[in-house]
């Protein structure tokens, strides 16, 4: 009988090395994001982490991150959705028509937009799940259809501006209850609170793992990782607090991130999605209703694409026929940079988020450096290829 509790006797440094090697993917992702940020911080002589620029960085990437959450589920389930960019633009156009031309209040208008997103997802999901048409083809068709519908809705013109209250969705910041000082205290405190919560949760999860004799992270690594994490969180919220505070959209994004991370890693629903992508037939023979599950991942994707469309429209303050153009590629790239597998069954929410920020920091940093849009695309393409190459190499080793 082999031992259940692994190698308590091996020496500490060896264990840390072993653990790092096993979890290289997760740490590697985070480290490469930090490395890229440090690189650009250095090259732009400190502009990257200026409070103003950091705020912009969050605002610019929020809609990509929001869509990457849904896309990760779709990719993990073994499908792909090419229509998200068009849906995003279409919903933005719909919001503009409702709010600007028909003078709807922004709350019912937003709800209608989210419902339309769900309906779009349901339509595509129905073809994929029940009619068994490859998702690549269904969503390619969707991409054309909704790009066209957005044009039709707007009559080929830009529509705006939106009501002030709606703009707050993207350009607003959380209110400061301790007004007066230069520093937005509420925002800073919120950042500290989140960091503390994460520490407590991490500690409790570790306790639970040890209780059942599972392999846990070596203590030293656990302390270092959490300390670094908490420090980064507090530092970022301090930087944001010294400008205008935490943007509203950051709160939305963060809440969604936490929720999706929880669903994918801790719930039976998440487990079933991974099984569906890993081996659909085995999943079905294990009592998982694969069709319904695939259908709902597309509905979910539709809702998130609609939300991203609202955020993007609110940020630009107009709906243009070109909104959302090429977003799907950024979103899909974020998922693959974040370690998702094109064949399904593999990928993590946090990976996709980090992937989105890797792309975002590169966009932002290269723009500050004055690198033209031409070479920016070349570099981004190569980074995507390199990230996946590293993945494949690690797997084959």
């Amino acid at each position: 009988m082999e031992q259940t509790i692994p190698t308590v006797h091996t020496e500490a440094p060896q264990r840390i090395g072993h653990f790092l090697k096993q979890n290289l993917r997760e740490y590697g992702m985070l480290m490469s994001l930090v490395a890229i940020m440090v690189l650009f911080q250095f090259m732009t002589e400190g502009t990257l982490l200026q409070p103003l620029n950091l705020t912009n960085l969050v605002l610019q990437n929020s809609y990509i991150v929001i869509m990457a959450l849904g896309m990760l589920l779709v990719i993990v389930a073994g499908y792909i959705d090419l229509s998200v960019g068009s849906v995003c633009g279409f919903v933005g156009a719909l919001a503009a028509v409702l709010m600007v031309e028909y003078h709807w209040h922004f709350i019912p208008a937003s709800l209608v937009c989210l419902a339309v997103g769900a309906a779009v997802g349901a339509a595509q999901g129905w073809f994929v799940a029940y009619f068994r048409i490859p998702s690549f083809i269904v969503t390619l068709a969707g991409m054309l259809v909704f790009k066209g519908l957005a044009l039709a809705l707007l009559n080929g013109q830009s529509v705006g501006p939106f009501p002030d209250t709606f703009q707050k969705l993207s350009s607003g910041f959380i209110p400061d209850w301790f007004s007066g000082s230069e520093l937005r205290l509420t925002s800073l405190l919120l950042g500290v609170l989140v960091a503390l919560t994460m520490l407590v949760m991490g500690w409790r999860a570790r306790g639970n793992q040890q209780l059942h004799g599972m392999e846990t992270e070596p203590m030293a690594l656990f302390v270092v990782r959490n300390a670094v994490f908490a420090a980064i969180l507090v530092a970022l919220s301090w930087l944001l607090a010294s400008y205008k505070g935490l943007p509203n959209v950051l709160i939305i994004m963060f809440a969604l991130m936490v929720a999706y991370d929880f669903v994918t890693s801790r719930t039976t629903l998440g487990r079933r999605i991974y099984a569906l992508g890993g081996n659909e037939k085995a999943a079905r023979l294990s009592g998982i209703r694969t069709e319904r599950l695939a259908f709902y991942t597309f509905v979910n994707m539709g809702v998130l694409a609609a939300l991203a469309g609202l955020v993007f429209a609110a940020r630009l303050n107009t709906a243009t026929p070109k909104a959302g153009l090429g977003f799907e590629l950024d979103v899909i790239a974020a998922c693959f940079i974040g370690g998702a597998s094109a064949s399904g069954g593999v990928g993590k929410v946090m990976g996709a988020v980090i992937g989105a920020f890797v792309m975002g920091v590169m966009n932002n940093g290269m723009s500050i450096l004055g690198i033209g849009i031409d070479y920016q695309q070349v570099i981004k393409g190569l980074v995507l290829l390199a990230a996946v190459c590293v993945d494949v190499y690690n797997k084959n080793k």
Partner: protein
Amino acid sequence: MFHPIHRDREVVKGVSLNVKRGEIVGIAGLMGAGRTELAMSVFGKSYGHRISGSALMNGQAIDVGTVQKAVDHGIAYVTEDRKSLGLVLNDTIARNTTLAHLDGVSKTGVIDEGREFAVANEFRAKLATRCSGVQQLVVNLSGGNQQKVVLAKWLFSGPTLLILDEPTRGIDVGAKYEIYTLIAKLAEEGKSILMISSEMPELLGMCDRIYVMNEGAFVAEFPVAEASQEKIMRAIVKSGQ
């Protein structure tokens, strides 16, 4: 029950069988006799279309229209094709073990990973699965150990009727013996076992009763004391004429 693609071809016709508590019943037959198709059509209508017939458990009619319903009624089907139908290869032993019965390790949809770990370890010990730990990926296991993971998955779902489709296909002698011992033990515990196999010595050695199937129909039924390889083959050949 009809073929899923050649929609007019009847694959299994007029079959009726029973398995008693604690009994091991075998289905013998040549490849393509329709044994797997029969088992899968009972297990949540996973094969074929225009399936007709009824399933009774303890004298009560039960609905086995979907896999989930079949599992809820205590039926488990261990597939003959573990790689493509039985396991999520790119996943851990622990996650594969609990896949068919996630409710057993979760509360209101939230998985208790500690409990899952404990369950996986319990079955690993019970079936003597050889691995470096239950967090190991299933793809890295040998055929026999993969088969044990599939068995663990279905045992964890708490079945009263276990359908084993070629349970020892492609695995080494040692693991075969362990699986035979396990099957005998399960029957002793009162589980009903329906075993499909192409290896006649295996059926003759394990079963209490053997049905012989050919071209989608049962052609003979023997208590094991009366059965022999010759008799089974004769029944098959005779029905073909």
